[in-house]
């Protein structure tokens, strides 16, 4: 009788097709996002995340089609991120069937946008996506900084302070990605996840770096995340959603197994 930890497969979508970035650079085509979404729905994924990395504005509308077609078939919660910059973007995604949107660079550029979006659509549908890199030297107190542009652009903004500020503005959930770990399969940055999770009252989704199922367990147990996001371990069939959830349950985490 308790809220269950969530396992969230994330599909990177470019021009309407699934890709997975390794450190956001090497891209491998891995199929139709809607087919993948249906498979994850059947497999018992607790939520689904689409990250739109379409660069060209000509193809920006492809994500709306992907989200609508997914909503026609999948009765599970869907979060869409990537290029969410205006109230109009959010409204369009929600009308297509998204439940939540994740805001990344627009939140860094203009924190008031998060407040405006939360006022308009409710805190519960605004996820702020935090891409952070460790900037403290060995031996120093841990410190992480927000990076934008796929981890290339430092901003000088402290990640933990930013997280608290975003919650004050109305973010209902935080998606915390370690840009040091993303694509490395060496596990989440647990210290980063836990520091932010313990500093805010909203749920935190751990992201970036999952290599095996122990990483998912650590994200919840040590990182204090209430949801764990992963991409390639699921897309490439290393582990199924069911295996991941059973493994987490076997390690004492309350999971939804129906």
């Amino acid at each position: 009788m308790t809220l269950k930890a969530r396992v969230i497969p994330c599909l990177d979508v470019k021009d309407g097709r699934v890709v997975k970035g390794v450190n956001f650079v090497d891209l491998v085509d891995a199929g139709d996002p809607v087919e993948a979404a249906k498979a994850y729905d059947l497999a018992g994924a607790d939520e689904l995340c689409f990250l739109d990395i379409t660069a060209s504005s000509d193809n920006r509308d492809t994500i709306f089609d992907v989200v609508s077609r997914t909503a026609d078939h999948c009765f599970m919660p869907v979060t869409v991120g990537g290029g969410v910059r205006s109230i109009t973007d959010i409204r369009k995604l929600l009308l297509c069937g998204a439940d939540k949107v994740s805001i990344n660079s627009a939140a860094v550029k203009n924190p008031d946008f998060v407040a405006e979006a939360a006022d308009k659509f409710g805190d519960q549908c605004i996820v702020v996506s935090i891409d952070a890199k460790k900037v403290s030297a060995a031996g120093e107190t841990d410190r992480w900084e927000i990076f934008t542009h796929g981890g290339r652009q430092p901003t000088g903004i402290d990640a933990v302070e930013f997280a608290s500020r975003m919650v004050d503005r109305g973010a209902g959930e935080l998606l915390v990605t370690s840009m040091d770990r993303d694509g490395t399969k060496s596990g989440y940055d647990i210290a980063l996840t836990r520091t932010i999770a313990d500093a805010v009252r909203v749920p935190v989704i751990a992201s970036g770096g999952v290599g095996d199922l122990d990483d998912l367990v650590a994200g919840v147990k040590e990182g204090h995340a209430t949801a764990v996001l992963a991409a390639s371990i699921f897309h490439f069939g290393t582990y199924s959603i069911g295996e991941a959830k059973r493994y987490m349950a076997d390690h004492g985490i309350a999971m939804r197994l129906d």
Binding site: M1, K4, F75, G97, A98, Q124, C125, V202, T226
Partner: protein, 216 residues
């Protein structure tokens, strides 16, 4: 059968519409799902669904911004006793008042206020986002064939507030989040889910099917 899903600019309406269409198909119910912002459609509908996400006051304002909609709801649900299902904030609006941000009048169908959840355990984050099980306080036709309890099916919740109903008889189901929180209310032809049936996979589709066949 005509099912009106009220469109007042709140909620992931496409998901709700699609879920009702699929549940109708699976239940073998011949239903037209009408996503509508027209009060006359609501009055004429056999069943009425009020979705809603966001803040209580904003949803109330949104609904009142559609001329005649509140009156149409009252006509269909209170006077004509057509089956009604409120979802999330659509369910919360059935209360006497909402206390989110400001004090807002509800429909007054279920006596009680919508209040903030304040779990003592810091590990229980607000909003509650995710899957939780239900405790059924009493049998209700909408839960027919749905396993509940700790080993039962899960429902998908996203909320920071819950309806503290004055009459325990009207709390059909609760969910545990640092104590029992109202998950489902019901009285006569009125029902309301704090969770999202349209996002709750097996449990949700069954509950919607039951709603479509419900003869209160």
């Amino acid at each position: 059968m005509r099912v009106a899903i009220i469109d007042y600019g709140s909620g992931n309406l496409r998901s709700a519409t699609k879920a009702f269409e699929r549940a109708a198909r699976e239940a073998g119910v011949d239903a037209t799902i009408d996503l509508t912002d027209k009060p006359e459609h609501v009055v004429k509908a056999d069943r009425v669904v009020l979705p809603g996400v966001g803040a209580y006051a904003d949803c109330r304002r949104g609904l009142d911004a559609v001329p005649g909609m509140h009156a149409a709801l009252t006509e269909a649900v209170v006077n004509n006793a057509h089956p009604f299902l409120g979802i999330c904030v659509g369910m919360q609006l059935m209360s006497s008042r909402g206390l989110e941000k400001t004090v807002t009048e509800g429909f007054g169908w279920i006596t009680g206020d919508v209040v903030e959840m304040t779990p003592d355990d810091p590990a229980l984050k607000i909003p509650q986002i995710g899957w939780n099980t239900l405790t059924l306080n009493r049998a209700h036709p909408l839960f027919e064939g749905i396993p509940t309890g700790p080993q039962g099916l899960h429902a998908y919740f996203v909320h920071s507030y819950h309806l503290a109903a004055a009459n325990p008889e009207e709390v059909i189901a609760t969910t545990d989040y640092g104590g029992p929180m109202t998950a489902f209310v019901g009285r006569d032809n009125m029902a309301g889910a704090q969770f999202h049936p349209e996002k709750s996979q097996t449990l949700g589709l069954r509950l919607i099917s039951n709603f479509l066949r419900w003869m209160p």
